[in-house]
């Protein structure tokens, strides 16, 4: 069912989605494809071949100027001033009490004075833009420009994604070949009459790239991705439904689910994304304090018995008593059984702990398992 209203934002690929008869839904104010034909088929195509995702709704801020690094240092949980040109770092934005405001990617542009690209969640775009402005140090010479609506972003993900990206970008043999990109690195590639930013990143647990290009080139690029055969097969357009089942199997947190202002990075299991030494940012004092105290809750992975999936807010029970809540759950197409993530106190977070989940009144046995649920073969 389409929830479209006239106020929803359209990505540069909106017409392409309509042509493919995608089911479009309101996602963070954008009209986005949740699926084209089948979430299961789109999921499997991404695990076995290549899935194509329109992720143009993700917020894209260019931060330029002499103090671009200083501006970001003042709000990110992780250092970015030492980030080499062409590299990317995952970080968090926290509020004063250490609660998570967003999870982001910071790209260091190649020329040192060219600054950074910051990718934020669609649902947090306005909030983070305002947050950056509010936390601008006095005399800071940096400009933050929201380029989300001027560009498109396409994720090409799957075991043959690098081959497809190289073919479509026509970079076979060139130094800018995406296959030569390291994980969490980016490069600018000339394509047609424009520059395309290619990064070896993704949100599916597969290898692949994410490509950012000017809106006016997006449809042509997408069309070329959809018709180019790799291993005798074309790539499969995939919607937000498959993106969610893929990222959940890979145990990647989703803002609004595993990440929220009510949890801090320690509870979320994201200590790697926090660098406190000699740094000061909103939340750094609280995070220093919280680090030395036992956490009140922890993110866990759960494998459920039977076929029914737990969903957001389902109570997690231990001995019949509620001890936590599910943040995401689905039927895993790869494992062919229901999987979920949620938060429980540390006493219940050990591997193999037997818990129960209240799924709409039915009590379903579940077991704490190691994350991620799925790891690709390298």
């Amino acid at each position: 069912m389409s929830n479209e209203s006239t106020t929803l934002l359209h990505t540069p690929l909106h017409a392409a989605h309509e042509k493919l008869k995608a089911r479009l839904v309101d996602f963070a104010g954008w009209s986005m494809p949740v699926q084209y034909a089948s979430i299961l088929a789109e999921h499997r195509a991404t695990r076995e071949h290549v899935g194509l995702f329109d992720v143009s709704h993700m917020g894209r801020f260019q931060i330029r100027g002499r103090d671009a690094g200083r501006l970001l240092e003042g709000i990110l949980t992780r250092r970015v001033d030492d980030l080499p040109a062409g590299r990317i770092r995952y970080s968090l934005v926290t509020q004063d009490d250490g609660g998570v405001l967003d999870d982001v990617l910071a790209y260091r542009h190649s020329a040192p004075d060219d600054g950074y690209l910051l990718i934020v969640n669609a649902s947090n775009r306005a909030r983070i833009l305002a947050w950056i402005d509010e936390h601008r140090p006095a005399g800071c010479e940096a400009v933050c420009t929201d380029t989300t609506c001027d560009t498109a972003m396409i994720a090409v993900q799957g075991p043959h994604a690098m081959q497809l990206a190289s073919r479509v970008l026509d970079t076979d043999g060139l130094a800018s070949d995406p296959r030569k990109l390291r994980y969490y690195a980016h490069a600018t590639v000339r394509w047609r009459a424009t520059n395309v930013l290619v990064s070896r990143t993704g949100y599916t647990g597969e290898d692949g790239v994410e490509v950012i290009l000017p809106s006016e080139f997006a449809a042509e690029f997408w069309d070329l991705l959809t018709v180019t055969e790799i291993q005798g097969q074309t790539a499969t357009p995939a919607g937000l439904g498959a993106r969610d089942t893929l990222r959940l199997e890979a145990a990647m947190p989703l803002y609004g689910h595993e990440l929220e202002t009510w949890c801090d990075p320690w509870q979320a299991g994201l200590a790697f994304a926090v660098d406190l030494d000699g740094r000061h940012f909103p939340g750094s004092d609280a995070l220093t304090r919280n680090r030395s105290m036992p956490p009140t809750r922890q993110r866990v992975g759960l494998l459920l018995s039977g076929r029914r999936a737990a969903r957001l807010h389902c109570p997690i029970l231990a001995g019949g008593e509620p001890v936590g809540e599910i943040t995401s759950g689905t039927y895993s197409p790869t494992l062919e059984q229901p999987i979920a993530m949620g938060y429980v106190p540390p006493d219940w977070a050990a591997l193999d702990t037997e818990l129960e989940i209240d799924v709409r009144g039915s009590i379903i046995p579940a077991r704490v398992v190691r994350l991620p649920f799925y790891r690709r073969k390298k």
């Binding site: 069912m1 389409s2 949740v34 699926q35 034909a37 089948s38 979430i39 299961l40 999921h43 439904g241 089942t245 039977g306 076929r307 029914r308 999936a309 969903r311 689905t330 039927y331 197409p333 709409r360 039915s362």
Partner: protein, 131 residues
């Protein structure tokens, strides 16, 4: 079964009424439109035989990768049979939505709920506004 011969609820269940040995039996399933909308079905929770059914009350759940939906009883009565063969074969549910993919049979005990049901043309018109 020809959908033209069936009645439909606003919540996408279909009903076929028949007389079996003096008892009125309602066979209930969900429409082709609903099956197409759900897609990627992975599980169905069926009611117990003998359970009471009331119009608008949930009889069971149908779960897709994306979400879970209730199957509502369109009539009042008692569940006398469930199609347990469906559960392991949900991907084929759309092949014969008005025949092999029936979900429950209910022995009706009143006319409650029947006035809420639509003919196929009216139901199709409703679907057109939801599509």
């Amino acid at each position: 079964m020809d959908p033209q011969q069936l009645k439909f609820s606003p919540t996408h269940e279909w009903v076929h009424l028949s007389d079996v040995g003096g008892q009125r039996i309602a066979t209930v399933g969900i429409s082709a439109f609903a099956i197409a909308l759900l897609t990627d079905l992975v599980h169905m929770e069926l009611p117990a035989v003998g359970r009471a059914a009331r119009p608008g009350e949930s009889l069971g759940e149908i779960e897709s990768v994306k979400a879970v939906s209730d199957v509502y009883s369109p009539v009042e009565g008692e569940v006398v049979e469930v199609n347990s063969g469906l559960v392991g074969n949900l991907e084929a549910m759309g092949d014969d939505p008005y025949g092999k993919s029936w979900i429950v049979k209910i022995r009706t005990t009143s006319d409650a709920g029947l006035d809420q049901l639509m003919d196929y043309a009216t139901y199709q018109a409703q679907c057109a506004t939801e599509g």
